[in-house]
Structure formats: structure tokens, C-alpha cells
């Protein structure tokens, strides 16, 4: 049985100016799982991810029809502040992008702006968040050093820690490993699997092996449409849509 949906897109259309980037997406992301969104470049997978936490709204001249539900409640309803939404639905970006601050300050930033913790409890929260990504042992003696002194892979784990510290429910990851080497990618993938115990993850990736390795569900997008959605094992071994088969067997994309 499919777990109940955490995030749900309903008849979702999205436009940059007059260009339709998403065309009638219906997709239910099950809670407590990793859902991978795959597809060729320009298919709208990153756009879909950004619609899930309204990051699309910082770009001018976009509009949207249809709806996105978070636990059954519309996130595009008037009255829901985008800041509240983004606290619950956080995002990790393609390139590691720590603030040019100390390691501690990076992780403490989210809790500070949301008033989640201060003093000792803030320090505990930072430690927990760094432990959740296994970064704690590597950085505990140099928390006051600049985050930019870390390796790229450590920086990406720091960015995930920074996100975990605001205590979100959903993590949106936009090609989180594309700037990392294979060993670092493996570490991040292991980390993602561990995180499903507490969070719902949606990952955009252009790497099909990665989608096959980490995700339970996969959505295949093509030209702004959702071509196929299903359990990863089934989608990769027995795709229903011939276009999916062509893509995953490497005939295009």
C-alpha cells in the first residue's frame, strides 16, 4: 500500500512569462520516502521542485494554476506566509553554498531567524544537526572557522545540517551531488537514506543510477509533463511508458 501523501501537486500548470514549464502535473509524494524526479534537461524537474516551496516566487513574471497541497492543505492559499512554508519545506541546492560565516553560525542561522533556540539549546541544536549529517566529529574543534574552509562535500553536508536545524518536514534536494566526486556522492546518498527516518525527501537528479540507488519512488518528466510515476524498482525494470524506457536505457537525454 502507498503511504499517505506528504506533498501533492494537482493539475499543476506553471509559466515563465508565456512559456509553459509545467503542464498539468498530478503527483503525490509519499511521506517518509525518497522520491526522485528524473528527466532530460529542461523538462521542468527543477521548476517542480521550486514550486513545492514557492521558491519560484522570487523570479519575476511567473504564474501558476492548479494547486500544491502539503498534508492536504494548499500552500498557495492566501494567508500562508512563504516563510512559514519554507521552514517546513526546505531546500538544498546544486552547488554547496554556505554563508561566508563560521561553521557554527551557518547552522545557527535558521534557528535564529525563526526564534527556535538560543544559548545552550541553540548549541545543542547545532550539534544535533551536525551529527545528523556525520559532520560533527570532523568540525567540532573548529566550529568558529569559516565554513568556506571545508571541502565541497563537507560544505554540502553543512548545508544539509543548516537546513535540518530549522526542523523541516520535507527536504527538497536539487541535484545535491552534481558538484561532488563519486566518493562524496556515495556519502551524501547514504545520508539521504538515513534521513528518510525523519523526513520526506524529494530529489531532482540527472543521474539515473543515483535515482535507482536511493529512491523508493521515481517520477519521470518530459517536456513539462509527468510521463510516468511509480515505485523505482518497477519504473526502472518494467516501465509502462515507452518514452520512459527509451530514457532509462540511455537512448536519449
Amino acid at each position: 500500500m502507498t503511504p499517505k501523501p506528504k506533498l501533492e501537486a494537482r493539475q499543476l500548470h506553471f509559466f515563465y512569462g508565456t512559456f509553459a514549464a509545467l503542464k498539468g502535473i498530478n503527483l503525490a509524494v509519499p511521506a517518509g520516502t525518497i522520491t526522485a524526479i528524473i528527466g532530460p534537461s529542461g523538462c521542468g524537474k527543477s521548476t517542480l521542485l521550486r514550486v513545492f516551496n514557492r521558491m519560484n516566487e522570487i523570479i519575476p513574471d511567473v504564474h501558476l494554476s492548479g494547486d500544491v497541497l502539503l498534508e492536504g492543505v494548499s500552500i498557495y492559499q492566501d494567508g500562508l506566509a512563504s516563510t512559514t512554508l519554507r521552514k517546513r519545506v526546505g531546500m538544498v541546492f546544486q552547488r554547496p553554498n554556505p554563508f561566508p560565516l563560521s561553521i557554527f553560525e551557518n547552522v545557527a542561522y535558521g534557528p535564529r531567524i525563526h526564534g527556535l533556540a538560543r544559548g545552550d539549546s541553540l548549541r545543542r541544536l547545532v550539534e544535533e544537526s551536525l551529527q545528523a549529517t556525520h559532520l560533527w566529529d570532523e568540525v567540532k574543534d573548529r566550529l568558529s572557522q569559516s565554513a568556506l574552509s571545508l571541502l565541497p562535500e563537507q560544505q554540502q553536508r553543512l548545508c544539509i545540517s543548516r537546513l535540518l536545524a530549522v526542523q523541516p518536514e520535507v527536504l527538497l534536494l536539487d541535484e545535491p551531488c552534481s558538484a561532488l566526486d563519486p566518493a562524496a556522492t556515495q556519502q551524501i546518498e547514504e545520508l539521504m537514506r538515513e534521513l528518510t527516518a525523519r523526513y520526506t525527501l524529494v530529489i531532482v537528479t540527472h543521474n539515473m543510477q543515483q535515482a535507482a540507488r536511493v529512491s523508493e519512488f521515481t517520477a519521470y518528466m518530459l517536456l513539462g509533463e509527468l510521463a510516468e510515476f511509480g515505485k523505482t524498482a518497477e519504473l526502472f525494470t518494467n516501465p509502462r511508458d515507452p518514452r520512459t524506457e527509451e530514457y532509462i536505457t540511455g537512448r536519449f537525454g
Binding site: N53, M55, I58, P60, D61, S82, T83, T84, L85, R86, K87, G90, M91, F93, R95, N97, F99, P100, Y109, G110, I113, H114, S146, L148, S149, C159, R162, L163, V166
Partner: protein, 275 residues
């Protein structure tokens, strides 16, 4: 060419430069004594100008760059207007200052607050500073906007993605990154202001004052204007020549020093961002 001019000024001006010259008031029709009131007046003018131009310029730039709706038709217009200010001759600013600040704002203040007594409706250091602030406004706006633009878009997105409001994003992420560039702009504006004469000609600079300005509505002496006065208005131009050279030297040293500080500040912040 530059070397010849500067060399001449330094060579001739150095001789008369002394502690007394820097700390005494002019005497005997400016053929003796020092230039202390002019140095003090310049410093006071520049300070007041900075207090006026920095908040206005920085807020304008932050609005244009971070708050104004993108794709708005007004933003390019405002930007164009600000940049055109930079092309207006300084003397026009002086006339505007006389017409607007002195004759209009000042007179109205006198009319309403002082029952028509002449207090602010005359040339004063306040009006000179505000006129100078308008002149230097484009420098501050343009350099601040450049500094804001240089902040990576990715950092803005991260702040938003963590649930920051726009102001939190600007305040915590953008401004700390841009502060170096903004300071540089501020200092460049100050050094430009310290060297200009035309805007203060009608708005507050005095030919000769044996005392220092203590109120906003006092007139004041200023280095650049003092140079002009000694060259053209002195009863004995030949006798003022040594002092003139030294005054020009002081003025040059002051503006060079400010520009040098701007370069240092910029280098300092660039280094800090690298780490």
C-alpha cells in the same frame, strides 16, 4: 604633465607648510597666518554631507536593487535620473542649492518657526552640506548598487529557502557582503565633496571668518573656496602666493588620503571575503 603640476605644488607648497599654518587663522589680508578655519570648515562640511548622503544613497540603492519589483517601468527611470545627476555641472547644483535650500526651505523655516527673522534663510553650512550631498548622491547610489549586485544570487536563495523574510535576507546576508563596496563608495563621495567648490559658492562658504562654525546656520570657510578667494579676491595676490601653494597642497593631500583610505578599505574587505 601631472608630475609637473604636482611636483611644482609640492616643491613650492612644502616650504610654507608648518604646524602654525595648519592651526592659525588667516591674518593681514590672508598674506599671513594659517588656514585652520578652512580645514575645520571642510571637515565639518564633509561630515554633515556624509550624514545626509549615506543614508539616502544606501537606502535608495537597497530599494532599487533588492525591493523594487523586477520588471517595473519606474526602476530604470529612477536609475537614469540618478545617473544623470552625475552629469549635471557642479555650479548648477550650487544654484539649485541657493534657490531651493536657502531661498525656499530656509525662508519657509524662518517664516514658520522664527516669525520671519533671518535664521536659516541665508547661506549656511547646513545648506552647503545638503547641496553637496545631492552632488555626491549618484556616486553613493551607483557604488552601493554595484556592491549589492556582486552578492551571489545563490546566497539570497539560501536565505529564502531557510524561511528568511526579505528584510532578514538583506540584513543578514546581502549587507554584510556588500558593506566593503558601500564604504568605498562613501569615501569616494566624501573625497569628491571635499574637493568641490562650486556647490558651496552660493550656499554657505564665506570669504573670511575669524571664528569657526558652531551652528548649522553658520557660514564657514572651506579649503577649495579659500584657494579661489586667495587667487582672485585677495587685495595682494602676489603676497598670498606662498600660502596659496601650501593650501592647495593641503587640499590635495586630504583628497588623496581619502582616496587611499577607500582603496585600503576595499582591499581589506576583499581579503576578508576570500577567507
Amino acid at each position: 604633465m601631472l608630475v609637473v603640476i604636482l611636483g611644482n605644488i609640492v616643491y613650492v607648497g612644502w616650504g610654507h607648510l608648518s604646524w602654525e599654518f595648519l592651526t592659525q587663522v588667516p591674518r593681514a589680508g590672508m598674506t599671513q597666518g594659517g588656514i585652520y578655519p578652512a580645514i575645520f570648515g571642510t571637515a565639518a562640511l564633509v561630515l554633515l554631507m556624509t550624514l545626509a548622503v549615506l543614508p539616502l544613497g544606501v537606502m535608495t540603492a537597497i530599494y532599487l536593487q533588492e525591493y523594487a519589483p523586477q520588471g517595473s517601468r519606474w526602476v530604470p527611470l529612477v536609475r537614469l535620473a540618478v545617473q544623470n545627476l552625475a552629469g549635471v555641472p557642479a555650479i548648477v547644483f550650487g544654484l539649485f542649492g541657493l534657490g531651493f535650500f536657502v531661498s525656499f526651505v530656509g525662508r519657509e523655516i524662518d517664516h514658520f518657526l522664527y516669525g520671519g527673522r533671518l535664521v536659516y534663510g541665508q547661506p549656511a553650512i547646513l545648506w552647503a552640506a545638503l547641496t553637496m550631498a545631492l552632488l555626491t548622491l549618484p556616486t553613493v547610489v551607483v557604488t552601493t548598487e554595484e556592491a549589492l549586485r556582486a552578492v551571489p544570487q545563490g546566497l539570497r536563495e539560501v536565505a529564502y529557502a531557510l524561511g528568511a523574510t526579505r528584510w532578514q535576507m538583506v540584513h543578514h546576508v546581502v549587507l554584510p557582503q556588500a558593506i566593503g563596496g558601500m564604504l568605498t563608495g562613501g569615501i569616494l563621495a566624501v573625497s569628491r565633496g571635499a574637493g568641490e567648490v562650486a556647490p558651496i559658492l552660493f550656499t554657505g562658504a564665506a570669504y573670511y571668518l575669524p571664528y569657526l562654525p558652531t551652528h548649522l546656520n553658520d557660514q564657514f570657510m572651506e579649503l577649495g573656496y579659500h584657494v579661489y578667494v586667495m587667487t582672485t579676491q585677495s587685495p595682494d595676490v602676489e603676497a598670498t602666493k606662498p600660502l596659496l601653494y601650501s593650501t592647495v597642497l593641503v587640499l590635495l593631500l586630504l583628497t588623496f588620503a581619502l582616496n587611499f583610505v577607500a582603496v585600503l578599505v576595499r582591499a581589506q574587505f576583499r581579503r576578508r571575503q576570500m577567507r
